[in-house]
């Protein structure tokens, strides 16, 4: 388990060979949101399979490459396509890119995902700025012998998502007339969507949106000392007592339609960020 440190070193050695900058932020782009990578200037794209120890992304609408370059005049690394637990990857593999961001010198992690909305006051297409999360993945990326070079044994989780950045994102949303809500994200393993009874349960325990990613990455961000901000695009409403069958093309269409709004928020936060 202590070989994780060496894996990170190998990966950053390889990446530095292609792109020798110190990033301000690492960005993880979820379902249908890959378009932000297109806005990165002087981009160097590295395929995941070329980077030592990186797994290959298998999910639909995920490209599977690391795009490094300038966004809002700041050096960033963006993952176009992420790894999910339902693909069968270990939590350590899923979160390796976050540790690579940190080792490259980033101080901020920006995560986005597509999610199901359970709060009846929200609508499909709205953006949720993640305020807190519940881990129902019944796994944790930090299980195993702790490597003190990477972070503490028991990281605190009283503020997994940076409060200042959340406020900044909501302020930008108001200014740009984008519908955005602060909310609680619950992570499940998937890959099947939830039953009605499960949606009722998740709502009952205090979650506003549900998805199959993000939480492992944010736990690791907290472990290795990155500030984190998370955006969820509500791609379908999951109201257990009026549930409609989920349709993957519609979900991806809504994610694509929300993409410009999400880009504005991500770039707005990045522009204001002084880290």
């Amino acid at each position: 388990m202590l070989d994780l440190y060496d894996q990170i070193q190998n990966a950053i050695h390889f990446i530095r060979g292609k792109w020798d900058h110190t990033p301000v932020a690492g960005i993880i782009l979820g379902t249908g949101l890959g378009g932000l990578a297109g806005k990165i200037e002087q981009a160097v794209a590295i395929s995941y399979e070329d980077i030592p120890h990186f797994p290959n992304s298998t999910a639909t609408s995920h490209a599977g490459r690391l795009v490094c370059g300038m966004l809002c005049g700041k050096p960033v690394m963006a993952m176009e396509g992420r790894f999910h637990a339902y693909e069968g990857y270990s939590m350590k593999a899923i979160t390796l890119p976050v540790r690579v961001f940190r080792a490259m010198g980033a101080s901020l992690l920006m995560v986005s995902n597509a999610c199901g909305g359970m709060n009846p006051h929200h609508k499909a297409g709205d953006i949720v700025v993640i305020e807190d999360h519940i881990n129902l993945m019944s796994d944790n990326p930090l299980i195993g012998i702790n490597d003190d070079r990477l972070g503490p044994r028991f990281p605190d989780m009283s503020e997994p998502y940076n409060h200042g950045l959340i406020q900044s994102a909501l302020e930008i949303a108001r200014r740009e007339n984008i519908v955005a809500h602060p909310g609680v994200f619950v992570a499940v393993t998937g890959p099947n969507l939830e039953t009605r009874a499960e949606y009722r349960f998740l709502r009952l325990i205090g979650a506003d949106v549900v998805g199959m990613s993000t939480v492992p990455e944010v736990i690791v961000a907290k472990h290795c000392g990155l500030k984190a901000i998370g955006f969820s695009v509500i791609t379908d409403m999951c109201l257990p007592d009026a549930l409609e069958e989920a349709d993957v093309p519609t979900i991806i269409a809504i994610a694509n339609e929300a993409q410009p709004r999400l880009c504005k928020l991500v770039m707005g936060v990045l522009e204001k960020y002084e880290g």
């Binding site: 796994d139 299980i143 989780m157």
Partner: protein
């Protein structure tokens, strides 16, 4: 301890060989076993005729990685009762599977012990709880999730065969309604009153960790009925109960979860603080352990207990 198949023979065999090793070095068979959690290690210094064995030297014992867990076994006498203290325990967040997590109760059972006290440090969820209070566990919520290995849960947790393959030596517990011994709970609460500190009966939620809970998770745990939350004890309690040991769970509250407090007022939880607060309240846990040891020592009670709770024959 990484055999592929978790068979009854293997499970009993590994506990038995550890027991043989211990028996050859400690003169008295323990009647009471205590697993000492975070910050409680120094309690071992109160034991008479103490004799310590390093976990690393005992066959089958896990190699611990958690901070504040020393990893040695102390045999001795407390208030006239032969005891065995497990100073340091394996945790799920270290990557140990259920089989390793339940090793200590199996060793105690193989040595002929009757009672197991499980101690830990936890975060307080109950609105009335304060730092330094002791929760006498009446029940737990096992939310440790993953049972790695894939075989039936029952087998992984207990090392027992599924119901269909019971041998005469093994019977499943009558019910899981009382993992924690009713009489010991009362005895513990009475000891707290006698020593004038606050202890209350409560439900312990066992999470995998190692990250502490988020606010949203604290709210969830409070809503489903937990009074405190930690990262151990539940697997050990289940195993001990299954083996017919009487179990007492003592949880020291080392920090208070305040999910709804204004952000500015919520201090972060750190492992150092947890260890420090646990050490501060160690005397309370010790007072209860001593009370249990004194009660165990009475010979009349000893015999009575054998007939009511001894569902299992101790292994030869």
């Amino acid at each position: 301890m990484k055999a592929d198949r978790f068979t009854v023979a293997a499970a009993c065999g590994e506990a038995r060989s550890a027991a043989e090793f211990i028996r050859a070095r400690c003169s008295t068979a323990p009647r009471l076993g205590v697993v000492l959690g975070t910050g409680l290690g120094p309690l071992a210094e109160k034991i008479d005729h103490a004799f310590a064995l390093k976990y690393a030297d005992i066959p089958g014992f896990p190699h611990l990685t958690a901070p504040e867990h020393r990893g040695d076994l102390v045999c001795g006498v407390l208030r006239g009762c032969p005891v065995m203290l497990f100073r340091g325990r394996p945790h799920a967040y270290e990557g140990f599977d259920r089989r390793t997590l339940t090793f200590f109760p199996r060793v105690l059972h193989a040595l002929g012990g009757e009672t197991l006290i499980l101690t830990n440090a936890s975060g307080g969820l109950n609105l009335h709880a304060d730092t330094g209070d002791v929760v006498v566990m009446v029940d737990h919520i096992d939310w440790m999730g993953r049972s790695r290995g894939g075989a039936g849960n029952w087998r992984l947790e207990t090392g027992m065969p599924p119901f269909a393959f019971q041998s005469t030596d093994f019977q499943p517990p009558a019910s899981s309604l009382h993992f924690y011994d009713r009489r010991l709970i009362q005895l513990a609460l009475a000891a707290a009153r006698r020593h004038s500190f606050y202890a209350f009966p409560g439900v312990y939620a066992a999470m995998t960790g190692p990250s502490y809970e988020t606010r949203a998770e604290y709210r969830l745990l409070r809503r489903i009925g937990a009074d405190c939350v930690g990262m151990s004890t539940a697997p050990e309690a289940k195993m001990a109960h299954t083996l017919g040991l009487k179990v007492l769970g003592l949880s020291t509250i080392t920090n208070i979860a305040r999910p709804d407090a204004p952000r500015i007022a919520t201090p972060e939880t750190t492992a150092d603080e947890v260890a420090h607060d646990a050490a501060d309240a160690a005397w309370k846990v010790m007072a209860i352990i001593e009370a249990v040891a004194a009660a165990e020592e009475q010979p009349g009670r000893h015999r009575q207990v054998r007939t009511t709770a001894g569902r299992f024959k101790a292994l030869p």
